[in-house]
């Protein structure tokens, strides 16, 4: 999408917002929501993954994710996998790298672009989620995602984590453990990693550990050529 499109969209949003608020002086058309709100553009949650510290064969992040979100842990084509461990090898040099791969929480997510019902969406703090109340299970987003990050639930589920509702007929993927983040915690995979490979934090806060490190070390986004600006960055690739 070009910059012009974004500007047009922003202009329309602002215009619509102004029109809504100023219907009559002192009268608001909508009820101002109570409680804690996430402001757009203020926080951008992201991860920095240090592939040099990631041990080949170690699966702790995947196990932690499966336990937290109630996934079966199976790796068949019809099993949900929110995070995978990947081992890559440069054939000419023989250099091997191990890394965890999951939803990259893009700034311009293709899964959101293609969703026909608006179920696939990006939260104001940059987390890309599926609103399962709206998901019709068409799986366009799974095809659009260049990271193969999304899974479809094929069978009825029971005994879900009360904090992580999941159900048959909907698409799902890494939520960055949004239920933990909203409570001030961090994702289960980052917490579980003994080698501190996964650094989680706010990319927009210049004083956060992750922003400092992203500024100091060389890191890459996977498939940066697609210009999706993923929130997950990799070091040492």
């Amino acid at each position: 999408m070009s910059d012009i499109d974004f500007q047009r969209r922003n202009f329309l949003k602002t215009a619509a917002g102004a029109a809504l608020v100023t219907v009559a002086p002192g009268m608001l058309l909508f009820d101002v929501a109570h409680g804690k709100q996430i402001e757009a553009g203020k926080v951008r949650w992201g991860m920095l993954i240090d592939t040099a510290a990631c041990k080949p064969g170690c699966n702790d992040c995947v196990t932690a994710c499966n336990k937290e979100n109630g996934l079966s842990g199976g790796t068949a084509a019809t099993d949900s996998q929110w995070i995978r461990k990947i081992e890559i090898k440069d054939i000419s040099s023989g250099r091997e790298v191990s890394l965890p791969m999951m939803c990259q929480h893009c700034e311009h997510p293709p899964c959101v672009d293609v969703c026909p019902t608006g179920a696939s969406f990006k939260r104001a703090d940059g987390i890309v989620l599926v609103d399962k109340h709206r998901c019709i299970g068409c799986r366009y987003c799974m095809m659009a995602c260049p990271y193969k990050a999304r899974s479809f639930v094929h069978e009825p589920l029971h005994d879900q984590n009360p904090d992580v509702p999941r159900g048959k007929g909907t698409v799902e993927s890494c939520t960055l453990c949004v239920h933990r983040i909203d409570q001030g915690g961090q994702p289960a995979c980052a917490e579980a990693c003994a080698n501190k490979v996964i650094l989680f934090g706010d990319l927009n806060d210049p004083n956060s550990e992750i922003a400092q490190k992203v500024k100091a070390v060389v890191s890459t986004q996977i498939r940066a050529d697609l210009k999706l600006n993923p929130g997950v960055r990799y070091q040492g690739l």
Partner: protein
């Protein structure tokens, strides 16, 4: 009228008659607040379950007279929430999960 197991019960966020008529609107409003805006304060399905899950089996859907099932069966209104959401009290789920 159906007889239902109200769990712990006690004083709800609104009076009983209001809740009978409007609980679905509250749930629908809260779901958008939570999923899209990350607002997990205030009333939520989890909080409903916390009070109204049966003392006997910690669930709002396990039996014919469970809190949600009893009325929905009587009124023949399909209950979709628990296709995805857990009908268990969180504390009970944690205990079961630890086993």
């Amino acid at each position: 009228m159906p007889k239902l197991d109200i769990g712990k019960g006690g004083e709800c966020v609104k009076d009983t008659q209001w809740m009978r008529k409007n609980h679905m609107h509250m749930l629908k409003h809260q779901r958008d607040e939570t999923v899209h805006k990350g607002n997990r304060e205030g009333s939520s399905l989890k909080d409903c379950i916390e009070c109204h899950a049966s003392i006997k089996d910690d669930s709002v859907i396990a039996r014919e007279d469970s809190f949600c099932v009893a009325c929905h069966k009587y009124e023949a209104v399909k209950l979709d929430c628990f296709e995805c959401h857990s009908g268990l009290r969180k504390s009970a789920w944690l205990k079961r999960d630890a086993k």
